[in-house]
Amino acid sequence: MSDIGSEPESLHEPEVVDEVARVHDCPAVVDRGQEIVHVPRDRYVEVAKALLDDGYSLCVDVTAVDYLEHPQRPLPAGIEAERFEVVVNLIDLENRRRTRLRVQISDDEANIPSLFDLHPGTEAHEREVYDMFGIVFDGHPDLTRILMPEDWVGHPLRKDYDIGHIPVQFKEANA
């Protein structure tokens, strides 16, 4: 009976998410060996600027998660879970390290300042997030859809977006 039933012993508990430091006065945690900085929305650009000055000169990725169906998730004290989360991955080439910003964004105010002026390479990523999640990046020079057609209705990666289906008819088999 060892194969099933009880949970295998080797199931690994996630590392305890505990606050290790404050990066530019924002709570920072190390989860699974990766540094994560939880940034309040109103300090988003400010912190990104400070990190740029610290050497995080390459912004590799901007993406988002819609936590509509999973509202309860571990977050450090002082950070309130909202529906959307914008996730930014930064690299410091000099010191060879990565960091990740997570910004909580509420449903009714789904907008956030654009990082375009700091990292122009986020232009396409922010358009993608806008296209897929409907999060508006204030100050973005060309905030249009990028992957979906211009007249598309809705934002496909939102959790309340119906994935659609083709009805399948099952016919009686001739035995």
Binding site: E13, D61, R73, P74, G121
Partner: protein, 480 residues
Amino acid sequence: MSTVDDPAVDEVASADDAPLVGKDHKAEDAYNQAHPDAYRQFIPQTDEGDQQLKLRSELTANDLLREVGAVLRMSEAEAAALGDLPDDPDEDQTMIINMGPQHPSTHGVLRLMLELQGEKVLRCKPIIGYLHTGMEKTAEQLTYLQGGTNVTRMDYLSPLTNELAFSMATERLLGIDGEIPERAVWIRMLLAELNRMSSHLLFMATNGMDLGAVSMMIYGWREREEVLRFFQEVTGLRMNHNYIRPGGLAADLPPGWRDGVLHILDLLPGRLDEYDTLMTGQPIWRERLQGVGVITPSEALALGATGPILRSTGVEWDLRRDLPYLRYDELDFDIVVGGYGDCFDRYAIRLAEIRESMRLVAQILERMPAGDYRIQDKKVTPPPRARIDESMEALIHHFKIFTEGFKVPEGEAYVGIEGPRGETGCYIASDGSATPYRMHMRDPSFTNIQCLPHMMRGGLVADAVAVISSVDPVLGGVDR
């Protein structure tokens, strides 16, 4: 012969406002008014609206500045300092043309809108999404075991790199990333390097063809096919392998795999020397590429470019060395960088990277350890086939893993690795269920095509082809 009251002269004079070419549209217009939707059903709307490049007349000076800044990824002040090339031409001197989506040198369905003045490219805007199939949404419906089949199809020229990034992110979430058996790790490295070689060989083929070295097309595909033949022996498929899976690999290397690798290692050096003869040293080839599509290190960094594009500017950045993963820190290899940031550097870097990958493969071949090819963790690994015949539990376990999948602890992780085109990253957020709550692939091509407008600005249309080719975008990865 003609006099002032010649009716023909009158007619020409009065038709001054009408278009000089084209037929009389009155009958068509009348029909259209009577049947407003007649054309719509046959000619689908293909206009992308605001995504498209706009006419100069539709833009105010500030808009244009902002747009130039946006397309060139500069601040408005920098764009203003740059001025516009050449001295803001009038609109009747320029035209906007579409290059693609069905253009052979756009490597898929990339559409570029180019504003041209004669042969000179003033503005360029990539329009993408023609291959978008919502693979990130699909990933939310697939278990972690099935996810590999999905991500492998994104950047279809580096399927194993995608699988590796996805598997490593999953393992990071599971907390088993340090426990993958040595043999699996080394096989992963072997395949990742061979994948880099096959991808760069295809680049050699397409880059050659785009620039008129048409026989290069055949040679590149021929050599790549040798690598794919090895992949087929190992994984069963030429592409879209789903071979690297969370926890290890789908199967061990087949008997005789060493001969397959040695065959590639024996074959390629001579062939690469032929490439040098055919292209690298050729004055026509150099004329065509040197000084074309130049990008500076600071621009490349600002644009988020990685891989050969960033390295062509002289920035030494390779995740295999700088943020090592697998066992790359135990291997001896060089990072190839350029100095000019032009198309020739990007070509030469890829050619040299094939040789570096061969060095790596030779070392991996020597050091390939024996052992298991997947982690013996009942949570993620199905029981061996032989156990299924004798144990009911094994059968149930096997069934459950393949139907329900395995649960992954709550959390999120990002893993970025060095793919052939740059940083291939996988971000997974898990809610504790057997499917990713959100899976995002950071594809290098998606970011790298942002460099196109910058590289093309002020260049010739003919060089636009060289520039696209040197960025080596894969639209399957761009659009996902």
